[in-house]
């Protein structure tokens, strides 16, 4: 059982706690491979997916996770909520609290939004991504995938490539890798770097080819169209030239190095067709692990012990 009520900021979790989540996820992953993929563990529990910005993939993953544990999962999305009609997040939280929800997953453009929920409701809060701050379940599923593929996390060099400044994935993955004894390196143009990558605990490089041969994991971030509009990049073509993974760059990688991506991929930009579909790419394993990791987080936060799958 975790000594935490919420999962908002991965910095608050110890290596032992992260291992407990990953081990629990492993047992749930086996359940997900069965024909009957359902456990009674969270029967009678109410889980709300509060999605204040659109995200089909993450929301679906949390929804499947909750349903596989027999929880009652309700989706409350921006288009059907009153947050667009001038209701404050605090009022939304109090309204949902009055409906006795047990666990709430929140996705918001606003950094710190999950903290506001904790101040206004009694439910467990899971951060499903808050602005440019953190996305802890993504980092956990990434760690799970690396561990499954390469056998361990400690000592690995993990290069995270792309729009570091605007990435909540980086906000959680870099601290998690540090906690687990891996070595994160953030790679991208200076226009897409945060002011102080060192405070997250990452080494910084602008030139991918300088560090590519030493990486065990090449983690590609999605480039958003709006970065072109904000003049951070001259063109996607040049971005692909400087940072895209293609056949030539795969040749420069370590033999057993893997390629990861949080999705959705821009084929031909971050990854060429060859790279996206190569044996090195574990992108669909990440998606698959996501459900198991989110089951583990829900299970452990709601007071579960042991591997959960035996229940």
């Amino acid at each position: 059982m975790l000594q935490h009520k919420h999962l908002i900021d991965i910095d608050e979790y110890s290596a032992d706690e992260i291992i407990e989540i990953l081990d629990t996820a492993k047992s749930f992953k086996e359940v997900n491979d069965r024909a009957i993929k359902k456990l009674p563990t969270l029967r009678g529990r109410t889980i709300i997916n509060l999605f204040l910005e659109p995200s089909t993939r993450t929301r679906t993953s949390f929804e499947i996770a909750g349903k596989r544990l027999s929880g009652d999962v309700i989706n409350f999305s921006a288009s059907s909520s009153s947050t667009t009609k001038g209701e404050t997040l605090a009022d939304t939280a109090e309204t949902l609290d009055a409906m006795n929800c047990d666990l709430i997953v929140v996705r918001s453009k606003q950094e710190g939004a999950p903290r506001i929920l904790t101040q206004h409701m009694g439910a467990h809060v899971v951060n499903g991504g808050d602005g440019k701050h953190q996305h802890p379940t993504q980092a956990l599923l990434d760690a799970f995938t690396i561990r499954e593929t390469l056998g361990h996390l400690d000592g690995l060099k993990v290069g995270i490539v792309g729009d570091i400044a605007h990435s909540r994935v980086v906000g959680s993955l870099v601290p998690l890798l540090n906690i687990m004894g891996a070595e994160p390196i953030v790679i991208g143009p200076p226009t897409l770097m945060p002011a102080r990558p060192d405070v997250l605990g990452a080494r910084c490089s602008y030139i991918l080819d300088d560090v590519l041969p030493e990486l065990d994991v090449v983690y590609m971030l999605r480039i958003q169209q709006e970065r072109l509009e904000s003049a951070a990049l001259p063109s996607l073509r040049e971005y692909a030239m400087l940072y895209g993974i293609n056949l030539a760059r795969m040749d420069a990688m370590k033999d057993d190095a893997i390629i990861m991506h949080p999705g959705p991929i821009n084929r031909g930009v971050e990854l060429s067709q060859d790279a996206a579909d190569s044996d090195r790419a574990v992108i669909l394993d990440q998606v698959n692990s996501g459900v198991a990791v989110r089951m583990a987080v829900m299970y452990l936060l709601l007071g579960g012990e042991g591997n959960g799958a035996a229940a």
């Binding site: 606003q110 950094e111 710190g112 602005g131 440019k132 701050h133 906000g171 002011a195 102080r196």
Partner: protein, 433 residues
Amino acid sequence: MALLLKNAHVIDPQNDIDEVTDVLVRDGLVVAVGTDIELPEKLLVKDCAGKYLIPGMVDVHVHFRDPGQEYKEDILTGMRAAAHGGFTGVVPMANTKPVIDTGAMVEYLLEKAAWEPGRTRIYPLGACTKGLAGKELAEMGDMVAAGAVAFSDDGHGIQDGGMMRQVLDYAKMFDAPVLSHCQMEDIVGAGVVNEGVVSTRLGLTGWPAAGEETQIARDIELARLTGCHVHIQHLTTARAVDMVAHAKAEGVPVTCEVTPHHLFLNEDDIKADSYSTNLKMNPPLRTKEDNIALQEALIDGRIDMVATDHAPHAAHEKALEFNHAPFGTTGLETALGLLLTHLVLPGKMSWQRLVEVTSVAPRKLIGVEQVELVEGSTADYTIVDPEASWTVEEDDFYSRSKNSAFLGQELTGRATDVFVDGYASMEDGVVTF
């Protein structure tokens, strides 16, 4: 009736006074200072033993939200908060709704303040440009005729350099200073916290110090060009201090102010486990190194004065997400306690210097009569108990808003009594109006 302020430790750097003595006041004026004063029969005596008596403090940077947003603060609640914090006069900024950009708006302000002895003085300030839009000159002459003492587009600095030059040239004929909120908006962008450690850690959009420093450099050069007095509002960085000091040494008519929150708080106070919106400021809290540099510059004279940028906001507004919450903290009721606790009582800053930065320099900036501790001076005084221990709490504020960045802090020293024109606006910690 005459009033005798007895056994007060009187501080007046203008006359080099630093002694325990008595002050006799009648009809708003000081009649005599000394221990052997001939006393009239009808006399009110206020024992000030153990307390300091200083020229009343003036805050040249407050927001009273009146007209338009009286739910945050109105002129009366703002005047009360000022008295409670030890201030005898304040300069409310023009960014109300509508903006104070005409003589009629200045008259509204003065009428609503309904000044009489024993109430906080309002020194009116007008906008530099119509509607704070930075496009057309406001009717400065009309506002001066109505009583305006200074001009500022605070809240949204004038972005166009050519427009700023016109403002300074035009304001010069009224001998009124232009108070400049320096932030180059295309560099600052959508920033909400200092660009650096906190923006990276919390994922919030950064606000680089360069956005502020670039425009300070511009305004210094325009002050040199036009000869108009430019007063840099709420500067926040060590480099900004250097630029202003350098310009002053060259004889450019420029002065500057610093706020208590930029002196005593920094970006490290904004934590990932709270995202406290009471720490969301414009300009943002900078670094610990800047805190130290600003304190040193205030003490040694490179920074001219303290101003609070008292920025009241309603609880429901500050309860929003960090990006959506408005900028600012209240400041009138905590400024003196902070300066005493962190600078004066530990011996880093003298009482004389405290008076210079809270009283003498602010009055000099806006060109109003100085208050002294000599016969004939106007009796605007603040009496300070240097030993009062207190905790910053919402319930203690007279301001209508409770958004203080200092809530929960333990402070030592505060004003107990304030006299404006010889009559108490606060007596034994209780505001009288």
